[in-house]
Symmetry: C3
Subunit: 278 residues, 3 copies
Amino acid sequence: MTNREIQEISCILEAVREQKPIVHHITNYVTVNDCANVTLAIGASPIMADALEEIDDIGSISSSLVINIGTLNERTVKSMLLAGQKANERCIPVILDPVGAGASALRNQTVEKLLQEVKITVLRGNMSEIGFIAGVQKGARGVDAAHNKDSLENSAAMVQEFAQKLNCVVAATGAIDILSDGQRMFYIKNGQAVLGGITGTGCMCTSLIASFCGAGKDYLSAAAGGLLCMGIAADLAWPKTQKAGLGSLRMAIIDELSHMQSGTIEQYANIVIPLQTD
Amino acid sequence: MTNREIQEISCILEAVREQKPIVHHITNYVTVNDCANVTLAIGASPIMADALEEIDDIGSISSSLVINIGTLNERTVKSMLLAGQKANERCIPVILDPVGAGASALRNQTVEKLLQEVKITVLRGNMSEIGFIAGVQKGARGVDAAHNKDSLENSAAMVQEFAQKLNCVVAATGAIDILSDGQRMFYIKNGQAVLGGITGTGCMCTSLIASFCGAGKDYLSAAAGGLLCMGIAADLAWPKTQKAGLGSLRMAIIDELSHMQSGTIEQYANIVIPLQTD
Amino acid sequence: MTNREIQEISCILEAVREQKPIVHHITNYVTVNDCANVTLAIGASPIMADALEEIDDIGSISSSLVINIGTLNERTVKSMLLAGQKANERCIPVILDPVGAGASALRNQTVEKLLQEVKITVLRGNMSEIGFIAGVQKGARGVDAAHNKDSLENSAAMVQEFAQKLNCVVAATGAIDILSDGQRMFYIKNGQAVLGGITGTGCMCTSLIASFCGAGKDYLSAAAGGLLCMGIAADLAWPKTQKAGLGSLRMAIIDELSHMQSGTIEQYANIVIPLQTD
């Protein structure tokens, strides 16, 4: 990521705060409140709605769509599929969070179906989830292969290849976040390992990405913007709350997001020099 | 609102803290935790239950009912209707929060049906939602008309007229909250615009109103009490948390509500001299 | 509880932090976020999943199961029963939280069915819920009897007797928590009455117990460990947040849990000399 690219990302944040895009969420009931609050804190406007009967109406007033399968069920999976298809018809970006991919056949089949029937704009998961899905896409053997790739270079190759295959942005979060649209690669080092001790930090990343995608058309930059905001918020919040504990950290992340400005991104973005992955 | 009226409202708060009325909620999964926590913080006792099979039982031990359509679906709409009808039979106050009215036909039809089949005690929404419903009640043309009324005087007339038509208390929140039972008008200036940056502050108002309605029979005063508590809590919390951010503000609102006493209301109520609206 | 028993409990906490057991929750949407966050704060790993189609898969990777009936419905009750049976087949501990037992026939029947069809490992409820269920088990008359037993000695006898009857650990929380596996009795005085002003503190206890049960085979000690952690967290958090209010207390409890170590338990466990109950 170059300084120019970071500036472009920070411009999208300004657009989010100006345009207040409506972000339609079909998401889980575990972290939904946090997702709504980070969406508001970054300047966008969340609508949570999962009833099949209103999917089309809500989609018609939204600027982006989050599909998060965290607590999926038969009823909501139907809504996810319909919402995705309607968003495709309207050229509204669709951000998929395959929470727990690999943990159950229901989740795996739902992700498969979503990838087949909906054109995804950004796929955001942790490295393990992305690796699992990429592996499944390659066949059962691929799973192990993907899981054995533990170097940054191998992970980057997997993300880029999968982004090419899906023809979308893939954003795999981890110690270093790796993003690709199949051509360009972005690497982000912001963020704290301790985030794993708070539920929903991944879901919140996805909602932030969707907020950015609602205001910017370069979806790789939009995805990077969402992850930069979360990572920087954590970097700023953790030193202030480390002594207190994880409850305080969770609150402070929302605090930092609510103050996040384009200058904050430019000042604190901790990026990695692009690797040669092909 | 006169000083005497404020005193009556603050007496209801004392009654809430003494009687600990049970407030049955059928509400959305986005802000339900906050609704439960503000209900407890103000001294009442929340029960969240939406299964049709237990609606009657839960209603039989409750002092008021919240119907909040924030994440409605086919199953829960049935429960809302039954709960409302059972509450009517038992003369238990019903507080309706038409979250997102105007955003989908499902929401509009559900609100219509609830207003037709249930005697609502207090309708609490933001000015846009109330305006939309009032407009719908007048016919499709009325929607635009309602939205064009932007002066306080016009809004007040709309609220009063709609309260008369529905024969209930209408509480429309905004920069100035406007409440009417069709005759009397209350205006509340407490509260902070920044509350729009936190999800569920409207839902929390509704739960506070329901807490008051569970302990006081003058429902206009009860509705004003709920809104005063939220507004004052925000007024006290915001100066302490403005520098920190929205996560801290959200926590501090619960803090302030948990310390709210009758004297707090009397000291900080920021009311507007009644307008002549007819 | 002896010092040796407290040491054994604190060893289980160390095992939780080392093993990070996966705790499958089928729980309510009111407090689910708090349940996930306390599970993480104590070192375990929560998975919330309630779709019947994935119950078996999720169970196969979990170390313990929480069944919390707080916002049960027809669909999720089926999942609870299946999850419980599958956990029994796999010898995975099942922790049942009968939220609101006594408040509706649906809840009572569900608890009955769960106790009949699933071998429960730990039943965790407040004294009133446990008393109600124990009474129901004895027949309708027993309910009143149970509720009239208000002395510690009578409550302890009820808990022990019920633990014998169910052949499981019963953990009844209150001013003094009473736990029994039918033989041994544990009494815990940690905790603050003010916890009743925050939603979900009972549910959080249950999730903590399940975290301990996922790492320790002595389920009475595991149950005591979960309750000690919650009680001690409250004891440490309350003096720091009493002036601020209940919002701050809620956050501080998560803070304290995230710093909880075996030494914290050993230092602050406030136990009662065992009574003679038979």
